[in-house]
Each structure stands twice: as C-alpha cells, then as structure tokens.
C-alpha cells in the first residue's frame, strides 16, 4: 500500500475553517496582548505607588486588575486553547508538525502560563493584604513572566511563516527553527502593540473612575500614556522591519492581495490611536468611555482582524515552516528530520490512491460518481484556503473561476499553473488527469447551480489566472 498519513477533512461551508480560526484568533490576540501589556502597566504604577508612598494609586491598579483578571486572562486562556483546537481541525498535519518540532517550547510556555494564572489571583487579591515590598516583587515577577510567554510563542508563530535560512531543514534543531529570521521583528511588533492595547484598556478604566480625585486620574493617565506612545512607535518601526524579513511568496501575496485591501485601515488605526493618546495626555479628565470603548473595538476590528488574516494569508501556500502546505501535504524534504516531500508520490498515485480516508466506492472515478469524487477532492486539496460555494467570503472557488461552467477550462487551470506550482501563493497540486477532471466537474456544477449536470455549456470567461478581490 502507498498510503500517506492524511487525516479526514473538516469543512465549514461559506467561511471555511480559516475564518473560524481568524475569529477565535482575533479574540485571543486582543485578550492576551492586553493582559501582557497590562501586567507591565501594573508594575509601572505599583513601582510609583511604592517609591512615592502613594497607596491611593493602587486603587487604580486594583480596579484595573479585576478587568485584567476577568477579561484577559481567562478569555485569553480559553481562546488560546481555542486557537489550538481550531488549527487542529483545520490543519491536523500542520498542527502535528508544529507540536512535534516545538513540544518542549510549548511545555515551557505552559509552565509560565500556569504560574501566571495563579499569579493573577495573587496580584489582585493581595493588594493591601501583604506588605508592599512583597507585592511589588510579585508585580514585577508577574510582568516578566507574562512577557516570557510571549517570547516563547512568537518564535513558534514566526517559524510558521518560515525559518528564513537552510539551517533548520538540515539540522532539524528546534534552536534553528525558533530563532528564525523574523523572530525579533515579530517580537517587536507584538511587544509594541501589547502596550498600546493595554493603555487603551487603562484609559477605559480611568474613564470609569470618575468618582476618584482628579489628581489621581491625571496621574494615572499621564503615567501610562507614554508607554502607549512608545509601544506604538516600536510596533510601527518593527512592522516595517518585519516586512523585510518575509519570504517571496508572502511579499507577492502582500502586494497583490493584502495591502490593497487592508493598508488604508492600518494607517487609520495608527493615526487615530496616536491622536487619541495625545489628547488623553493633554486632557486626562476629559476621557470618556463612549470614545475609548469604540476605539478599543476599532483597533480590534480594523487593526487585529486584518493582522490575523494577513499573517495567515501571507503564509500561503504553507501552514508551517515552508514545508507543509495548507492542503496538508508535505511540500519538500527536510533531511534534518528525515521528512520527505509527498508531491511526487501524489502526482504518481493521485489523492485517491494515497489518502486513507476515502470510501472504497469513491476510489475509482466513474461517470456516476465523478461529481461526488470531485467534491471530496476539492475539499481535501482546495478547501483549506477556498470555500466552495459561489458568492461566499473565503476566496470561493466558483467565483475564482469567474462563474465558469466550462470543465475543460477549469481543468486547464489546475493542469497548468497548479500542476507546475507556478502560483507563488498556492501549493503545487499535481494530480492525475481523472482527479483534475473530477474537481473541475464539481466546480463547474457548483457554478451551474444544479447537481449532477456537469455538461459543457459555452462559457467564454477567461481562465482565472489573475485573481481579483
């Protein structure tokens, strides 16, 4: 038998599993970055309160702590597991690849995280309950630990983009995978933006403390805003550096698809946030939550959502380390780990020949089952990145083929650019004739809108080689 280690496929109609991932990811990034950033603001305020013997500043910390606790840590931890689950069901082999390369790094992160969850309770409940110096140590240890979790996860995330050099492929060493080319840039962006997010939440809290003395509010706001501005500047600078560390396929994707769609929003987020910070600094007492709360949502939706989608899209066609494709195939040899590319094997035997999870009735293509086989093959080889329903939001395939119902024309695209691997952001998908034809039949019938009638009406739209959107 020539089976490869493929898994069953999970497919979410319309939005694909990619969007499920994006939604959970966005919540997670907002929650986790806010909490790490907040940990530092905490430490800053606590230090000031301690040095200047001003316990009333701790009121602010206490109130902030409750939000940090409820909102960020718990939501952050559940959605952290959530991202993991989402990538598991969307890309089991990609997830397995990451886990098997980084299990000890993740395990170390877990140690941190466990300690932090205990720490967050200690931090909030022990304010004014233990002596101030002990509490101050607690705050700093907590802030450093929170950042350490970020340090650990960023190495893994940036490896997902690419290692950026040959070392890892040759040695298979976690060191080489982890400290990859865009590690430091990526870390800078995240560290900066976590401060920005935390400051916005901090301003929300300051805005809701209107019963407290004006002096305290001014003091608190003016202590935290500079952190936000510095953080924002760091994030922007590092973002430009980050762009320089990207692989070719990501740059193509960025320039052809992503920047046109998201650039304006990103500039807007940065500008508005900056202006708001300046205003808050100038007039701390005028802070109002009907401005801050929408600002927070604005950053989350116009800032973080595109960021998550971009990072995910730029990685295309890979899901991890430029060696596993989004469609769960191993794209290249990794001698350091004894991993072999599966492309040739698939082109020889077809997916139907190598995939363990194909019902026997669909293993050979016939006139009757062609569309059904095509649907399954499309879910397996395209569904990770494309939805299959016309008009649906995740780069849906029927529309990518411009609504074409011409089986030959669709097959020509698959047999051309896809087979040769000449589209930088798509996997090389080299399938036997009958499988290509089955996929094309399915897509054509989706466009035709009727089951089981993949006939060949005339259609003169050009081949979909130049995608829009």
């Amino acid at each position: 038998m020539d089976m490869l280690g493929m898994y069953p496929t999970f497919y979410v109609p319309e939005i694909g599993s990619a969007w499920v991932m994006g939604i959970i990811g966005t919540i997670h990034v907002v929650a986790s970055h806010t909490s790490v950033g907040a940990a530092f603001l905490f430490a800053l305020l606590a230090t000031k309160a301690y040095r200047e013997s001003r316990p009333e500043l701790m009121d602010y910390v206490k109130r902030y702590g409750k939000v940090l606790l409820v909102f960020s840590y718990i939501i952050g931890s559940v959605t952290g597991v959530g991202i993991w689950y989402a990538i598991t069901i969307a890309s089991p082999r990609g997830t397995a690849g990451l886990i098997h390369n980084f299990v000890w790094v993740w395990a170390a992160e877990w140690v941190y995280f466990t300690v932090e969850v205990i720490g967050v309770y200690a931090l909030v409940y022990l304010i004014e309950k233990v002596d101030r110096l002990t509490h101050l140590k607690l705050t700093w240890a907590f802030a450093l630990a929170s950042w350490a979790t970020m340090l650990l996860i960023v190495g893994i995330l940036s490896f997902m983009m690419w290692p950026g050099n040959d070392s890892w492929y040759l040695t298979g060493s976690t060191n080489d995978a982890f400290y990859n080319i865009n590690f430091f840039a990526h870390l800078g962006v995240r560290t900066g933006s976590m401060l920005v997010m935390a400051v916005i939440v901090g301003l929300m809290i300051a805005g809701s403390m209107r019963e407290k003395s004006p002096a305290l509010r001014i003091e608190a706001v003016r202590t935290i805003v500079p952190m936000g501005i510095l953080g924002g500047a760091l994030a922007v600078l590092m973002f430009f550096y980050y762009l320089e560390t990207l692989p070719y396929n990501a740059k193509v994707m960025l320039h052809s698809h992503l920047l046109p769609r998201y650039a304006a929003g990103m500039v807007l987020v940065v500008t508005i946030t900056f202006i708001y910070f300046l205003a808050a600094w100038a007039k701390p007492l005028f802070l109002r939550n009907w401005i801050t709360v929408p600002l927070f949502l604005f950053v989350a939706i116009i800032g973080v959502w595109p960021e998550e989608r971009t990072r995910e899209s730029m990685r295309k066609p890979y899901v991890a380390g430029q060696y596993i494709y989004g469609n769960q195939t191993i794209a290249r040899d990794v001698p350091g780990k004894g991993i072999l590319s599966e492309i040739e094997h698939i082109s020889k035997h077809g997916i139907l020949g190598i995939h363990p999870f194909i019902p026997e009735t669909l293993r050979t293509v016939s006139e009757e089952n062609r569309r059904e086989v095509g649907e399954l093959l499309a879910k397996i080889s395209c569904g990770n990145c494309h939805s299959l329903e016309p008009g649906s939001p995740l780069r849906n395939l029927p529309d990518k083929f411009h609504g074409s119902t011409d089986v030959e024309l669709i097959a020509a695209f698959i047999n051309g650019p896809l087979k040769n691997g000449s589209v930088p952001y798509m996997p090389r998908i080299d399938l036997p004739e009958q499988e290509t034809y089955a996929i094309a039949t399915f897509i054509a019938s989706q466009n035709l809108g009727e089951r089981n009638r993949p006939s060949m009406p005339v259609d003169t739209t050009q081949s979909g080689a130049t995608g829009e959107q």
Binding site: G5, P8, I99, H100, V117, V130, W147, G172, K337
Partner: protein, 410 residues
C-alpha cells in the same frame, strides 16, 4: 482489516518524529492529567455544592457562607483546570497524534462548541459569583446552573474525544457512513457512559476532601468560627462516604463495560482503584471528623486519581496493541536544547516563582488583616524576580547568537 488500520495509524504519525524518548512524554502526560482531573473534580464538586447551599441559605447562615466560599473556589478552580488541561493536551498529541487529531476532526464542531460553551459557562459563573450575596434573588441561581451544566457538557466532549481515539476501526464508519463522506464533524460519535459517569462521580469524594482541608485551613481565622468549621467538616465527611458509595457501582459498571478482548492485565488498575476508593471511604469515616487531618486526607486522594490516570493509559495501550500501534517505536530525533529549556523552566520558574506564589497565597489567606512576609517568602520573592530576569537574559543572548550565526550563513 485491523492490520490495515494499524498500518494507516502508523503512517499518520508525524514524520518529524519526537524530540525525546516516548516514555518521557507518556509519564508527563499521565502526571499532568492527574493535576487536570483533580481540579476538574474539585471544581465540579464545589460548583454543585455552592448551588445546593445557595438554595438552602435561608435555613442557616452557614449555608450562605459556604455557598459564597464554594462559588469563589469554583471560579478559581475553572481557571486552573483549564491551564492544567493544556499539558496533557500537548503531551497526548505528541505520542498519540493520529488518534487525537482524527477524533478531533471527526467531531470538529464540538471542539468549537467546547470553546464557546466554556467561555459562556465561565462568564455565567462569574455573574453568579458577583451576585451571590445574602440579599440575592433566588433566580440568580440559574446562572450557576447554566455554568455547571456547560462545564459538564465540556467534560462530556473531552470524554468523547478520549473515547473516539480508542476506536480507530470505527473512524471510517463515522466519517463516511455508508460511503457518504461527512465533512461537517457534527456528531459526538461514541460515548461510554460508564466511564464518563464514574469519572464525574468522583467529584463527590473530591469535594469532600476539599471541604475537610478547607475546615483545617481556616482554623486560625475568627471570621470562620469553630461551629462553621465543624459544620463544614461534618458535611465533608458525609459527602465523602456517600460519594464513594455511589462511585463504586459506577466503577464496576465501567469494568464490565470494557471491550471483551482486552486482556485481564488491562483490568488490574481498575480493581486497585476500587480498593483505593474503599480505603479512602474508610479513612474519611475514621478521620473525617477530627480536626487537623484534612491535608493528609486531601493528599491521599491523589492515590485513587493516580490509579485512574494510570488505568486510562493502560486501557489505551491495550486498545492500540491489536493495531500494532506502540508509542515505543515512535521515531526519536533527540533535541537536547529544547528539552533542557523545559526542565529548567519547570524547576526555575515553576519551582521558584510558582513556589513563591503558592506559599504566599497560602500564608496570606490564613491570617486576618495584613500579612507581613517572613524571611523565606521575602527571599523567594526576590529570587523569583532574579530568576526571571536571568531566564529572559539567557533567552536573548542565546537566541541572538543563533540568529547572528544564521545571518552570516553558518
């Protein structure tokens, strides 16, 4: 057929292999799962009791006080059981990746439901936590019931994943019943009620041990007077005895429910577990009403839990045997640096910073009013900051040197 399935199982293993010997992951998986399930059980028990006590609070003020305490305990418990679940989740998928990922994909929607119900359940619990005051209206108890109900559902989903993993020969039937492929992942395909209900029933003895330790812990606080502590202790003793009595028949049911082809050695830990539960029940009866024995009993509760964790793994090993799946022949590409990273972090950060936190919370909770750290704790605090600073420094220096080596092309 089984040979085919076995062959496929082995090809589905990650081609990268694993970075340390398989037994190491297996041991860590079992040990960390003990921690997870311990918090699961105590939390479920505390949550249930806080609800019962909430509805009984007009009978006696003790119930009110207990309800508030248990609500808070469950709140903290949930956040800990979540992080403690992460470690076994990680280690399981290192050595049992084919099983875990397939089981997950086949019930994919339920994994997403798991996340959202956990969030909703936790928020709902928080609402109850904030509103559980003497003057609270009775209908607020609904928030707690919703929270507990969702936690139980989440436990059931976890169980289904574990149980589906054990049955590779069924996967294709679930994925493509009658040859019709179903990519929706919309069903929970297999539930073994005996196993699930037994595990959940242990939350009664777990709660009991928690109550006994709780009664001892607060012995120095006047806001938990002696009659309240005695009340809690008696309640714990009763719940413990009744709980063990309920768990035992469920355990026998599970033993009978194991597939016939499993060899007798797969049953052994189960029988030991039955013995451990009986001994625990006797000990609770004997020592439960004596002050000062709470911690001993609490820690002895780890014995049955350890046996249960071991048993689950023995069952899995036996269930995989006919398929020729044996974790010990997983390809190993040893990766020393990252292995060292984990163990040093566990010792340095988990041990020192974690130790500092736990000790500090423990001591501070015992006193009324402000707690002044003693020398040990003060030193541990300083050491925590130093160790963290050191960890981060090493992380950067080491990382930068590797990064530079890459940049200049070695």
């Amino acid at each position: 057929m089984e040979a085919d399935v076995g062959f496929i199982l082995n090809t589905m293993r990650d081609p990268a292999g694993i970075p340390a010997p398989p037994w190491l992951f297996q041991v860590l998986m079992v040990l960390t799962w003990v921690a997870h399930i311990a918090f699961v059980l105590v939390t479920l028990g505390a949550a249930a009791l806080s609800i019962v006590a909430f509805y009984l609070r007009h009978h006696h003020p003790h119930w009110q006080q207990l309800s508030i305490a248990m609500t808070k305990g469950a709140k903290i418990g949930v956040s800990l059981l979540i992080v403690l679940g992460v470690a076994p989740l990680l280690f399981t998928q290192v050595i049992y990746d084919p099983q875990w990922y397939t089981a997950s994909v086949l019930s994919a929607r339920w994994l997403i439901i798991f996340i959202f119900t956990l969030i909703i359940g936790y928020c709902s619990w928080f609402v109850f936590y904030y509103s559980n005051k003497p003057e609270a209206q009775t209908r607020l108890g609904l928030f707690a019931l919703l929270g507990l109900g969702l936690f139980l559902l989440d436990g059931l989903i976890m169980h289904v994943l574990a149980y589906q993993s054990l049955q590779p020969d069924q996967w294709m039937n679930w994925y493509a019943p009658n040859g019709q492929v179903d990519t929706r992942g919309a069903s929970l395909h297999a539930i073994q009620w005996s196993r699930f209900l037994f595990i959940i029933s242990l939350s009664a003895p777990a709660l009991a041990l928690y109550l006994l330790a709780y009664a001892d812990y607060y012995s120095r606080r006047s806001d938990r007077p002696k009659d309240y502590r005695d009340f809690v202790r008696q309640l714990g003793r009763r719940i413990g005895k009744v709980g063990c009595l309920i768990s035992l028949p469920l355990l026998f049911w599970w033993l009978l429910d194991l597939p016939g082809h499993l060899s007798t050695s797969a049953h052994t830990p189960g029988w030991l577990l039955a013995g451990a539960l009986i001994i625990l029940a006797i000990q609770i009866d004997r020592l439960g009403s004596l002050p000062g024995r709470g911690y001993l009993l609490l820690f002895s509760g780890l014995i049955p839990l350890g046996l249960m964790a071991l048993w689950r793994e023995v069952i899995r090993v036996h269930a995989m045997k006919p398929f020729g799946y044996d974790i010990h022949d997983y390809t190993v590409h040893a990766d020393l640096p990252s292995t060292i990273l984990f163990f040093l972090t566990l010792l340095g950060i988990g041990g020192i910073f974690g130790g500092f936190l736990v000790l500090l919370l423990y001591r501070a909770g015992q006193v009324e009013g402000k707690y002044q750290a003693d020398r040990t704790i003060a030193r541990l605090g300083t050491l925590s900051v130093v160790v963290l600073g050191l960890w981060i420094t090493v992380f950067f220096v080491y990382g930068f040197s590797i990064w530079v080596r890459h940049a200049i092309g070695f």
